[in-house]
């Protein structure tokens, strides 16, 4: 398959050879090798399933895409075995500051890791192509994953038991039969179009300029956001540090602009100099204009075709909820489809992916839409409220939490999920069913590392027996952090919780019994 000529190349992979003739059969075909598709392949490959990953371009693309990866995504990378490689390459940060006009002090600031003593930072900045590089290299080491770049899916024919795919390369066409197809083929998803699925939502009339520049700077590793700064009057701006002396500058430009002229260096560079000072030395990495939309498909599950990532939902970039939302999808889907493939859960269990991933997508869309409405007020009244918040925030602490420059991505809870076992005891805080476990040091390791990607009972002295194949981890091994763990989980001696493979709590008890734990496990596997 030829190279879409307008996409810049980060790393050439090359067109994979076509398979030998005859009908090929695979368990899982993943379409699209962006970060979400690659991570999905790694998830199934590491669980021992045979995966075919098809990608239309024969390269990893450069250019400016996702850069902000949430703590939750870093936790997922850890479970995929690539956490350290990604964190070593990126720039960690926790603090965001919001400035208004020419005021030197922030009107508001926030900390993305309010609960300390966790392995990973609140956020990591790293360009998407580095993440793809690391995921690609990890996937390359597994014989269970067959990656074919330069292979374009041209037709998708689902039936009751699986999916026939037609695939084209520059040389040939062939057919593959897959038990399951996962469409990670991005916002313009060809699979979505081939199935004729609607992608409902809202378009925002605003243009933003991304200027990724290379410069030596001593700016701290923090997210800085401006409302109405002197260097971009009446608009907003954002600055992020990336690795290798690259900085992401983001300028709101408004709707009626000449988009081609706006990315011309002679128009970008005065903006950069106005922001960073007239004498700043920098070189251009990437200039582009983006607009955005908030959309999602009605269902993520269409028989044996499953949607994940941008093919299923799109959000505005404020809040870093795009790529991180995609990782939430694959994390939710991975263990569920794994159980189905092992015959330990019924195929209908995937309905809970549809249910929980849509809760996540809707919360991401709701948050990013609200941020956008604050950043780009749609009426005079809306602007008056926005400016009133900023004015009050300078003098009155109550107004500061109203300042919305993006509510940054964190793990989303499913309190109403049908696979939770509702609390029957009294709890004050802690981690409720349907919420993600909070990391904490335990012994000489981190709790999330210990949990891994299987069902685990975390117990405060409860001896079990736990159901077959489920390990009990006793918080007693924590020694000096025992009280910290008890506070974070609201545990009392004798208590326990059942934790899902994606590290969400499924159930908890003050006084568990083997029968209660076993029932909760059945429910969490879609068997109750």
């Amino acid at each position: 398959m030829g190279r879409p000529s307008d996409i810049p190349v980060w790393r050439h992979i090359g067109e994979a050879p076509c398979p030998p003739s005859g009908q090929e059969r695979v368990t899982i075909a993943i379409v699209g090798a962006g970060p979400v598709g690659l991570a999905m392949a790694l998830e199934f490959g590491r669980r021992g399933h045979q995966v075919l990953l098809l990608n239309r371009p024969d390269f990893i693309s450069a250019g400016s895409k996702a850069i902000c990866f949430s703590k939750r995504s870093l936790d997922i990378f850890d479970r995929l075995g690539v956490g350290d490689a990604i964190v070593e390459k990126g720039v960690s940060w926790n603090v965001g500051k919001v400035f208004w006009g020419d005021r030197p002090d922030p009107v508001y600031q926030f900390d993305m890791l309010p609960v300390k003593e966790q392995k990973r930072p609140g956020f990591l900045n790293i360009p998407q192509y580095h993440v793809e590089d690391i995921l690609f290299d990890a996937a390359s080491t597994l014989s269970s994953i067959d990656m074919r770049f330069g292979h374009e899916v041209t037709n998708v024919l689902p039936d009751d038991d699986g999916v026939d795919l037609e695939v084209r390369t520059s040389l040939n066409s062939y057919k593959v039969r897959a038990d399951w197809v996962i469409a990670c083929d991005g916002s313009r998803s060809p699979i979505r179009s081939m199935l004729g699925l609607e992608f409902e939502g809202r378009i925002f009339e605003d243009n933003f300029l991304i200027a990724d520049i290379r410069m030596k700077g001593d700016h701290p590793s923090e997210r800085w956001f401006w409302f109405d700064p002197p260097f971009n009057p009446g608009q907003s701006a954002l600055m992020h540090k990336q690795p290798d002396d690259i900085w992401r500058l983001d300028f709101q430009l408004g709707w009626n602009i000449d988009r081609k002229a706006a990315v011309a260096p002679e128009n970008v560079e005065p903006l950069v100099r106005a922001m960073l000072g007239p004498d700043v030395e920098f070189s251009r990495e990437w200039y582009s204009i983006y607009t955005f939309q908030c959309r999602r498909i009605e269902r993520f599950l269409h028989g044996h075709v499953i949607f994940a990532g941008d093919s299923a939902h799109l959000v505005s970039p404020f809040g870093a909820r795009g790529c991180n939302g995609g990782f939430a999808d694959i994390d939710n889907l991975g263990w569920k489809l794994d159980l189905i493939l092992r015959g330990e859960a019924p195929a209908s269990f995937l309905e809970t992916y549809d249910e929980e991933a849509i809760v996540t997508a809707d919360e991401n869309i709701r948050n990013s839409t609200r941020s956008t409405d604050f950043i780009t007020p749609k009426s005079e009244t809306s602007r008056a409220f926005r400016d009133a918040v900023l004015e009050l925030a300078q003098d009155f602490p109550f107004a500061r939490p109203f300042v919305n420059s993006g509510r940054l991505s964190t793990a989303i809870s499913y309190p109403d999920s049908g696979i939770n076992t509702p609390d029957m005891d009294r709890w004050v805080g802690g981690v409720a069913p349907g919420s993600p476990v909070i990391d904490v040091p335990i012994g000489n390791r981190w709790l999330l590392d210990r949990l891994g990607n299987r069902f685990v009972v975390l117990a405060d002295g409860w001896q079990g027996p736990a159901p077959d194949g489920v390990e009990i981890i006793d918080v007693g091994i924590a020694a000096e952090t025992l009280q910290l763990i008890r506070r974070r989980f609201d545990f009392s001696p004798g208590a326990a919780c059942l934790i899902r493979p994606d590290q969400y709590v499924a159930a908890r008890w003050r006084t568990p019994t083997p029968a209660l734990v076993s029932d909760a496990l059945r429910r969490a596997r879609g068997l109750a």
Binding site: E380, T381, A384, F385, D387, A388, V389, E391, L392, F396, F398, A399, F402
Partner: protein
């Protein structure tokens, strides 16, 4: 619903004062300044009420009054 007081909650002797303060605060302001003043005032009061359901109820009643006028 029906948590928001809609019967007199200020003493009869103070309502004229309060009304005067509200209107008087806008003296000399342009429409845009007035709009922003009102926004600041609403935000201060909303925080003082401190109960999202009460605020929602107030918004509901305010919207209903507007409808009956048009």
């Amino acid at each position: 619903m029906n948590k928001l007081p809609v019967t007199p909650n200020l003493s009869p002797s103070s309502v004229d004062d309060v009304y005067h303060w509200l209107v008087n605060a806008h003296e000399g302001l342009s429409d845009a300044e007035s709009m922003r003043f009102n926004a600041r005032l609403i935000l201060l009061l909303v925080n003082a009420i401190g109960d999202p359901q009460l605020i929602r109820e107030a918004i509901h009643y305010a919207a209903r009054t507007r409808k009956s006028e048009t």
